[in-house]
């Protein structure tokens, strides 16, 4: 164990692999020292495990109806009670983790690279390129996120795929702004000039030299935004434009529970708790990541 640690922390690494593993090890250690970040990691780990092992964990089917067991309060049989069709809420929440995970992953995978690239190109070239790209970004930024997502879903038709596309379309401008701002701070720095003098193409400079410096702040921002993405997805589900019944999407579950909120509180509350918990997990992790990746913003 101690030899592995020494190998990772070696001041004079002997290969590329050792150097990069060493720096990620240092980052991990710093992250794990932050208790809130650890809580965030744990919450998200539970989310991922729940999504992977849903069929094993869930005691009941998430879709199977049992009208004899309608709206039962939480008990040892039904841990979080049942909804108006007699479906076990706990099982539905476990299966819902899959949908939530798919939504946040796909949105991040679509919007973060798009925003990064547009921002980096805009900041690096400046001039007209910058004006045009930032003009487009401003148009998207000027509309409230949820309203824009609603408009897109309404145009594309309700459904989880369209909700993902709509949320991705509304969330890239923020990342473009961040990566442009980062790019502007070092576009004229000497290491970029040196690469140009060495004959590197613009594409190479952007992808190899500029993007790696923007990614850390965008990763932080994406992680912090995950909570917002989950809420937007839940909001679309709540309005009936996201996941369609009988899919166990958390926002849609709250929407169904609204009718019984005074007498059968658990129907709306349990998925609400799940949303809050996962959002909180992403926020904690995002804060921890910011401290590790973005030394500029670190508090005193």
């Amino acid at each position: 164990m101690s030899t592995a640690k020494e190998w990772l922390l070696d001041q004079s690494p002997s290969s590329k692999l050792q150097a990069s593993m060493g720096s990620s090890y240092r980052m991990m250690r710093q992250l794990v020292r932050n208790p809130l970040a650890v809580i965030g990691i744990l919450i998200l780990l539970i989310l991922v495990l729940a999504a992977i092992f849903a069929p094993i964990i869930a005691p009941h089917s998430p879709m199977g109806q049992n009208l004899g067991a309608r709206l039962l309060p939480p008990s040892t049989e039904y841990w979080m009670g049942t909804d108006e069709l007699g479906r076990d809420i706990f099982s539905r929440i476990i299966y819902g983790a899959r949908i939530t995970l798919v939504i946040v992953t796909l949105v991040a995978v679509i919007s973060a690279p798009l925003g990064l690239l547009i921002g980096a190109i805009s900041g690096y070239f400046g001039g007209w390129t910058d004006k045009v790209l930032m003009g487009i970004t401003d148009v998207f930024l000027s509309m409230p996120k949820l309203i824009l997502a609603l408009a897109f879903v309404a145009a594309l038709g309700p459904g989880i795929e369209n909700a993902i596309i709509a949320i991705a379309i509304t969330s890239w401008p923020a990342y473009a702004r961040i990566s442009r701002a980062e790019t502007l701070t070092f576009r004229n720095s000497e290491f970029i000039s040196a690469m140009r003098l060495l004959g590197a193409s613009h594409a190479r400079i952007i992808t190899r030299h500029i993007l790696p410096l923007c990614t850390s702040s965008v990763i932080v921002r994406v992680t912090l935004d995950m909570a917002g993405i989950i809420l937007t997805a839940a909001g679309l589900g709540f309005l009936g434009l996201g996941a369609q019944p009988p899919l166990p999407e958390w926002g849609a579950m709250i929407s169904r529970g609204r009718t019984f909120i005074l007498d059968q509180w658990w129907v709306a509350t349990m998925p609400g708790f799940a949303i809050i918990l996962v959002s909180l997990g992403f926020c904690f992790l995002g804060d921890g990541l910011r401290d590790v990746l973005d030394p500029k913003q670190r508090g005193s």
């Binding site: 001041q11 004079s12 690494p13 002997s14 290969s15 590329k16 050792q18 150097a19 720096s23 720095s189 000497e190 290491f191 000039s193 040196a194 690469m195 140009r196 003098l197 060495l198 004959g199 590197a200 193409s201 190479r204 190899r208 030299h209 790696p212 410096l213």
Partner: protein
């Protein structure tokens, strides 16, 4: 054939004309210095030659070929630049190895491993520094990496923009000795910007004194020993830096 030849060079940043009517001929293998106070336009001349200050008129030729206003891929193997600030001239997330490998990859040059090792040895860096990141290096070591990066494409002309002014005095001497040794070994031409006259007397054969964007005098480096300047500005610059640097050392 001269290595660098500037004819009637005017350089401006937007509407601001920074350099006016510069004429310099640097012979191959020569070490030439541009001296002057801050803001006299000496670094701008260097940037124009490198292609980083594209708004110029006049003529710039490198090794007999006149150069265009843009950064050219083809001139990368002829002319390279070492920057003033070793903290700003290395990418903070790239290891020494990546920094030296990349120019070779860009130009499709093979046998990279051996070349990188050779270059590290040439600039006096031990091989255990190879996979370190800039934040794990001292200022002098970083400047050695920057010099190695500039030399790895085997250029003939080196533009040195105050390569030692950001370093402390003992390290300055090491870097200057290194530059002198490399020039001797690889038969390089240096065009060096500095405001440090002792550096000029140590490194260079000739110098041009610049003031307010113009060259006021081109003198041999021996003028630093006998004070043989003609222009009043050069004389006052010489006096301000304490006269004969060698004499001062021996006193």
């Amino acid at each position: 054939m001269s290595a660098i030849s500037l004819k009637n060079l005017d350089v401006s940043y937007g509407h601001n004309k920074v350099v006016t009517g510069v004429n310099i001929d640097v012979a191959e293998g020569e070490s030439f210095a541009l001296v002057g106070e801050s803001g006299s336009g000496k670094s701008t001349v260097l940037k124009a030659i490198a292609g980083l200050a594209p708004e110029w008129t006049g003529e710039i030729s490198l090794l007999g070929q006149s150069r265009s206003h843009m950064v050219e891929r083809s001139s990368a193997k002829q002319c390279q630049m070492v920057f003033q600030d070793p903290y700003g001239s290395l990418h903070p997330r790239k290891s020494v190895d990546t920094v030296l490998m990349e120019p070779l990859m860009v130009h499709g040059i093979g046998n990279r491993n051996a070349r990188v090792m050779e270059m590290l040895a040439a600039v006096g860096l031990d091989k255990r520094f190879r996979f370190r990141f800039p934040h794990q290096l001292s200022g002098g070591q970083r400047q050695r990496v920057a010099i190695a990066r500039a030399l790895i494409l085997e250029p003939k002309v080196m533009l040195l923009d105050e390569p030692t002014s950001a370093l402390d005095v003992s390290v300055q001497a090491e870097i200057l000795n290194l530059l002198k040794k490399l020039r001797r070994e690889q038969d390089l031409t240096y065009l060096m910007v500095t405001h440090n006259l002792p550096v000029v007397s140590f490194m260079c054969d000739r110098m041009a004194v610049m003031n307010k964007g113009r060259i006021v005098e081109i003198a041999s480096a021996s003028a630093l020993h006998d004070g043989g300047f003609i222009d009043p500005y050069s004389l006052s610059l010489y006096a301000a830096s304490g006269g004969n640097p060698d004499k001062k050392d021996t006193e």
